[in-house]
């Protein structure tokens, strides 16, 4: 059974990583995908690989006018948006709260949270008119707990969970489901940046430190997050709304250091 046959799907942050893996998943099962990203070269490459079911629109998702434009662009292709994956995000610099520059905090909140709010403000009325839809937002394990040195990122990902729940409540009477996925670090560009940020002298040590908090003792593959996104986006998840789903190798189940038993 192809779960996304003839579905029109919007993916922000779609040029690489989780967004691209999700797009592949949607297209494999019959969907039409519009990718949105700031990186045009990567978008062009992605669409070339994905084939005729994919198109792209270059946009800064934190900008209100560009949000209208990428939604119009997706609508012009398929005349509806059945599924939206709001996935664009940045990690920001690794710094304590008092060591973070105000403009860096604002930038993280703008790309990660303002973007999602802008998208929802357009998508909710649009999906209401369509008679329903499904929205998945990429939060993070940082949407469920804190991490020293990532104040802005943690705040932004927690904010996404709150926004998701509110959107779910507002969308519920109209057949619109809204959920969030909360990945632990995934093998993408972002995790390499984080390893360098935590310990530029020895990213390998940073990796050990990060993995010691993940019971499965590895990073996720983008596909493993995409599989969950696809499930939540599909009709099989008909009673799932307003929830944040960890996909984190057990990290949020408890402080899981790999302690040798004495």
């Amino acid at each position: 059974m192809r779960r996304f046959e003839q579905k029109s799907i919007l993916v922000t942050g779609g040029a690489a990583g989780i967004g691209l893996a999700a797009a592949q998943c949607f297209i494999r099962e019959g969907g039409y995908v519009t990718l949105v990203d700031v990186d045009e070269r990567a978008l062009r490459q992605a669409v070339e690989n994905l084939g005729s079911s994919a198109a792209y629109c270059v946009a800064d998702v934190s900008d209100a006018r560009q949000t209208q434009e990428y939604i119009a662009c997706s609508m012009s292709r398929n005349e509806r948006i059945d599924i939206a994956l709001l996935n664009a995000g940045i990690e920001g610099p690794i710094a304590t709260i008092d060591g973070t520059r105000i403009e860096d905090f604002d930038r993280v909140m703008s790309v990660n949270v303002r973007s999602a709010w802008l998208a929802l403000a357009s998508l909710l009325p649009l999906m209401r008119r369509q008679g329903g839809g499904s929205i998945v937002m990429t939060s993070s394990i940082s949407g469920l707990r804190g991490t020293a040195g990532q104040g802005a990122y943690v705040a932004s990902k927690h904010a996404l969970v709150g926004l998701m729940k509110t959107a779910a409540l507002e969308g519920a009477p109209h057949g619109i489901r809204v959920n969030a996925v909360c990945p632990a670090p995934v093998q993408t560009r972002m995790i390499e940046a984080l390893e360098n940020g935590f310990n530029s002298a020895s990213p390998e040590d940073a990796k050990k430190m990060i993995l010691s908090g993940i019971p499965l003792n590895r990073y996720a593959a983008p596909d493993e997050i995409a599989n969950l996104i696809a499930y939540l986006a599909s009709d099989e998840a008909g009673f799932c709304t307003g929830a944040a789903y960890p996909v984190d190798g057990g990290a949020s189940a408890g402080p899981a250091r790999h302690i040798q038993e004495s």
Binding site: A184, P215, A221, I225, F239, G242, A243, A253, G254
Partner: protein
């Protein structure tokens, strides 16, 4: 198919969510051992699966008996050669008095009835299933918790306590067996249209439906799809998690 050639054990598989889990897992390619206290309804589930062209067996299981869990696992291994997945789903919402009472007025026997089935039964299941999954080189367990694993509702003291207990036990077991290739998760159904609501009047059922932002009760298959997904390799990075399928109940 999500569970091609897998062998799965489902407790409480005779009716409601459990029957739907057994059916969906079988549809996805699993051979299913349907375990339940109710032989007649349990065999019906087995026949439904066989009628759809898949393999199933029934096993009489009193989930409050640790020895019977061990026998159920052995039966799955003998009949189907191995065990890949288990769903500890058997549960009750009231004890023998069939009454919903505030904590201060609840009887000890009702408390013990509910804890025995809902929490002890899951523990007994886990300790029988985990060694079989280790022998198998890994696998997946899904425990049926509830939205009452995170929040409470009046007159459900033992039920709420038991389901919170299931969530904690799930997380602990997940941490302990992450390195053994065994993933252990819990699902949190909202109120689902099943026989567990049979003591409710139509007005009460409508009231329960209205508690969900989506304005309706869940269907058993909407929980079963999530259990099947979590049991499959598609959920390879998901362990120790508590997954809601609750029509928005917990988001309020």
């Amino acid at each position: 198919m999500l569970l091609k050639d897998k062998v799965a054990l489902v407790t409480g598989g005779a009716s409601g969510i459990g029957r739907s889990i057994a059916l969906v897992m079988a549809r996805e390619g699993a051979k299913v051992l349907v375990a339940d206290l109710d032989d007649t309804a349990g065999c019906e589930t087995m026949e439904l699966i066989r009628a759809a062209g898949a393999e199933a067996e029934f096993f009489h299981l009193d989930t409050t008996d640790p020895g019977q869990h061990a026998e159920a696992v052995r039966h799955a291994q003998t009949r189907f050669g191995k065990l890949d997945a288990a769903c500890n789903n058997a549960g009750i919402s009231v004890g023998r008095s069939k009454s919903y009472l505030p904590v201060g007025e609840s009887s000890v026997v009702d408390w013990l009835d509910i804890m025995d089935v809902n929490l002890n039964g899951v523990f007994y299941g886990l300790r029988a299933q985990i060694p079989a999954l280790m022998q198998n080189g890994g696998g997946s367990i899904v425990n049926t918790a509830s939205i009452m694993g995170q929040v409470a509702a009046k007159r459900l003291g033992a039920y709420v306590a038991s389901k919170h207990g299931v969530v904690g036990l799930t997380k602990c077991a997940a941490l302990e067996y992450a390195n053994e290739g065994i993933r252990i998760n819990a699902v949190a159904p909202g109120y689902v249209d099943t026989p567990i609501l049979k003591f409710k009047s139509d007005a009460e059922r409508a009231e329960l439906a209205a508690k969900h932002p989506v304005g309706r009760l869940g269907r058993p298959d909407e929980i079963a799809e999530l259990v099947a997904w979590l049991s499959s390799d598609r959920a390879s990075f998901v362990t120790g998690a508590y997954y809601a399928a609750d029509g928005g109940y917990l988001a309020q």
